[in-house]
Amino acid sequence: MSTTFRGMDVVSIRDFSREQIEHVLKLAEKMVPIAKGEERSVLLEGHVLGSLFYEPSTRTRLSFDAAMTRLGGRVLGFDQPTGASVAKGETLADTIKMVDSYCDIIVLRHPQEGAARLAAHFANRPVINAGDGAGQHPTQTMLDLFTIRKEKKSIEGNHVVIVGDLKYGRTVHSLSEALAMFGAQLTFVAPPTLQIPKEHLKAIEEMGHKPKISGSLEEVIKDADVLYVTRIQKERFPDPAEYQKVAGTFRIDLAMLKDVKKDLIIMHPLPRVGEIAPEVDATEHARYFEQAFNGVPVRMALLGLVLGGLK
C-alpha cells in the first residue's frame, strides 16, 4: 500500500480504490490525538508544503496548515492571487514549476476546473487538489467519509439523504459516487431545477444502486441515518423571490427534526448561510463542526502517506 501512495497526486477521488480510501481513513483515525494536540509528532519534520490558494477558503487552507504543522512540517505559499506573480499574468504552469522547486508537496485551490490535474502534469512533486472550481475536492470527500464512518462505525448500510444544490455542486457528485462505492443507500432531495444530473445518477446506478429522488425533505428525513446538507446558491435563481421560497423549504430547524431517528447525524461542508438554523447546533444530531475538525486528521494521513512518512 505504501508504495502506491508515496509521491502520488491526489486530484480526484476517482483515482482511489475503496481499499486505498479505507487505508487513509484508518490512518486518519490514528492521527486524531495529534490533530487535537494531545500528542506530538515530528513525522514530517523538515518537509515543506507549498500552499497555493488562488481562491479564498478558510477551512480547507487552515486545516492543511494545521495538518502539516502538527506533523512537524512547514508551510509556505499564498492565500490570494493578488500580489502573487499570478496577478501579473503568469500561467499556472509557470507558477507550479517554480513552486515545485521550493517545496516537497503542493496543495492547490484554483477557480478553474482541471487546474489540479494541470498542476500535477507540470510538477514533479505530488499535488493535492484542494478544490478546483466546480470540479473535484477529494480531501473533502475523504473527510466526509471519515465523519460518517467515525459516527456510524461503518458507511455501508446507512441511508444518506443529500439535500441542496445537487446539480452544480460537483463535490456532491464525487461524494455520492464514493458513498455508493462504500455501500450506502442514497436519497437526493432538491428542487426540480437543482436535482442530481442524469449522468451522475447513471454512474451510481451502474454500481448496482437505486438511489431515491425526492423533492420533499419531510418525506424522507424520518428514515435518514445521515443528512448531508449543502448550500443552495442565490446566483442559481434569476428570481430572488423564488430563491427565498426554495431556501425556506429546505431549511433545517428544530421543527424539521421532530420525527427523525435518534441517532441521525447532520453534516454540512460549511460555511452555511441559513441552511441549518443555529438552534440545531445544540442538538445531538449536529456533526458539522466535528466534520470540519476531521479535515485535519484526514489531511494529516494523506500528507503522511504521500510524503512517505506513513505506510
Binding site: 480526484s12 500561467t91 499556472l92 504552469a93 484554483h110 477557480p111 478553474q112 476546473e113 482541471g114 487546474a115 490535474r117 494541470l118 502534469h121 478546483d132 472550481g133 466546480a134 470540479g135 473535484q136 449522468e199
Partner: protein, 151 residues
Amino acid sequence: MKEFKVTPIRNGTVIDHINVGMALKVLKIIGVGGNVNSTVSVLMHVPSKKAGWKDIVKIEDRELDPKELDKIALISPNATINIIRDYNVAEKFVVEVPNIIKGIMKCANPGCITNQNEPVETEFVVESKKPITLRCVYCDRVTTEVADNVR
C-alpha cells in the same frame, strides 16, 4: 469507369460518406483555404447507398496525415478514405476514433483550465465511440458535442 459528377482525379484522396452537412468542416480540418495548388471538389447532400444523404470531398495530389484522419473521425465517424492512384481506388478504409484524443479539439467546458492560456495540449478519454462521448482528462467534463470543438 464509373459515372462521375465531377472530373475524376488521377492521384489523391476521396473522403466519402461524410456525415451530411460536415463537408465544409472537413475542408477546414484539412486546411483547404485560398492557396491550394490542386483541385478540390466538394459534393454536398448526395444520396448515399448506405443510408440517407452524405457529403463527399475529393482532393487531388494529397494524402491525409494521422491527425487529420482523427479529426475527420471525430466529426464523421463513418467517413471512408479512398486513396486514388492512377484513377483507381488503391486503398480504402474507414476512419477510426482513437481511444485517447490529444490536442485536436478544445474542451466544451468554458471553465476548464485548458481553455485558459496554459501551455498544455487538451486530452480526452473516449468513453464511448457510438455516440462519440469524451471525458476531459483535466476537468472531467463528459461531452457528446464534438463537431463544434474540433479545431
